[in-house]
Symmetry: C2
Subunit: 401 residues, 2 copies
Amino acid sequence: MKFASRLDHVETSAIRELFKLLGKPGIISFAGGFPDSAMFDVEGLQEATDKVFQQEPGGALQYGATEGYPALREALSQFMASKGVQVAPDGLIVTTGSQQALDLIGKTLVSDNDTVLVEAPTFLATIQCFRLYGAQVIGVPIDADGVQVDALEALIAERKPQFVYLIPTFGNPSGATLSLERRKRILELAVRTQTVLVEDDPYGDLYFDQPPPPSLLALSADVPGSRELLVYCGSLSKVLSPGLRIGWMIAPPELLAKATMCKQFSDAHTSTFAQATAAQYLRAGRMPATLDRVRAVYAERARTMSQLLQAQLGSAFEFTPPGGGLFVWGQLTGQGPSGAHKLQDASELARRAIDQGVAFVPGAPFYAHNPNPAALRLSFATVGLDKIQEGVGRLAKALLG
Amino acid sequence: MKFASRLDHVETSAIRELFKLLGKPGIISFAGGFPDSAMFDVEGLQEATDKVFQQEPGGALQYGATEGYPALREALSQFMASKGVQVAPDGLIVTTGSQQALDLIGKTLVSDNDTVLVEAPTFLATIQCFRLYGAQVIGVPIDADGVQVDALEALIAERKPQFVYLIPTFGNPSGATLSLERRKRILELAVRTQTVLVEDDPYGDLYFDQPPPPSLLALSADVPGSRELLVYCGSLSKVLSPGLRIGWMIAPPELLAKATMCKQFSDAHTSTFAQATAAQYLRAGRMPATLDRVRAVYAERARTMSQLLQAQLGSAFEFTPPGGGLFVWGQLTGQGPSGAHKLQDASELARRAIDQGVAFVPGAPFYAHNPNPAALRLSFATVGLDKIQEGVGRLAKALLG
């Protein structure tokens, strides 16, 4: 069978291979990118589903509009208002997870050999998703304050990208959050260069102590002309339930119309059953309490992991404790506690760690090019405090012997 | 904003424009392609959802494997066995409706300017879906026994298509069913020419009196080498609920693996919540009774519509009464009851029909090229018997005055 030439641009995920090893009994996994199932508000979701069956079974089980179930578009419009963004229900479309929003962005905006700029590192599935549409994906360096604006400006001038894709808040995998000052500069840069910005924001609600700066979309109200260049992707997956597959996309009207047309041929529409359930859930007003609960649990896990990493790995592992999200990101320095030169290859460490009974994801696949082989990602989200302690201990043993 | 060049290949659906008129009060609509919401087994689905929340909330609300929720793959394997097809659970993947299976087939198999052969007429969204991936979509003529095999053979020889897409059973829009003899010839033709066949089978379960011939997939057991060339798309949308968005794809292992990789970047996976609900439903054993009920209702509506069309439109409208599915398809002959020459343009009739308070879909958009302007599609699925009588009366008035 002859396959489409676009498949030549992607490779089987290195992470996928690693995940096969996770079946080993007794492994403590810091490898996932999942929220903790134990955090799901099962009672609230069952109440929502019960209401769907009582009040709207015909609509919720039938075909629906490609743009989304009207009650959910309304509820998401209100949810965005609570996050400082004014958007009418028909200013957003519902997508099958925010992954589908990325797919629709690729489908509507990327022609063969177009350049797309992303953070280095960024969400792995984004790189592959855009490459399938023929994109040349180029990474822009980041630091603890997010993407470096001077480097971004230079690459925009050099490459004239179709768009810039950012996860400005608690990025995956970096955990980094773009500072307020950089957010404003980037919006101004977008207007000056007429560059489309894609803001992917699945983690923004998951802050620990301080709320993060407002989203680029919220800030666009202050930068004339920027809203017309902004595409925002939201998701219920990280705070409510990934299994519903509910994401949404806010974009200028013309792009939203094209994305809707493409979605018609991608999956016709997102499950109306899941959409109606999400709408009932949001309307019931349970989200704020759910968010408080989830934030508190993840914050404690993140603090615990950060403290243990500092105590046990010391100068061998360099990272910034995250202020939100699901991930600790850092790099092996090659320094041991006694100053001895240690392992700097995170892939090799991942193999040794599996032998010790702990898993994590090496950072290299998160780079579109020029990977940092010393980088690695640890998720604290699904692991209880005892297991975090045990797991970091195993990691220290794998690294420092 | 500059959009991707692939969007130049598609146009806003003519049907979409027509659907905007359906909001007119009092319109009787034969235009939809929907099953009847009143047929949904709401009680059975609520029982299924209750079990999901009791037994597997963590799994059903969490991220899942791109290939599908294991319990549903198992249940679909058994469902296919009841239809004469042996397929292991890992021989199929779950898709977000069968529309996504079509999208994945396009994504994995179609490069720019590849030829895809389809029936003329065929499902509108298929044509646009494949064109978005750069396909040249070429129609093959059909008659009441489905696609004409000699014409298909000639076009395969001439165009060397990437694949042939067929809806062999109660086709949309044609209602036609490929005869057993033609099914065997097409399987042999596929082996002889090493051509991939895509069998889209959303309607096969919806037969009225006689079951249709076995699917191409079921028959492939008798034609050595044909199974390796067959892709089968199934759906729960027409018999259980479109709102779940549950379809599936059976294909040779290499294609299934590529489609899975692409799906990872399309929507990560289909709603596990909807998948777990469907799995519980199928396991509860309610499907046979649901199918009996749905078949009986649609059969009566189809018979009623067919009889009324024959009685009231007479020689002005030529069609074969359907043996299953959701549609009557036919063409205006230009003959009036008194022999006078009448309207032969179905689009013009559609406009006049709206004025009379009845809607249907003109057939032209269902052709990849060379549309038959006299053809039209009527759905009886969502309309009660009284309304069918009233609607056909209005149609007769619009056509014959």
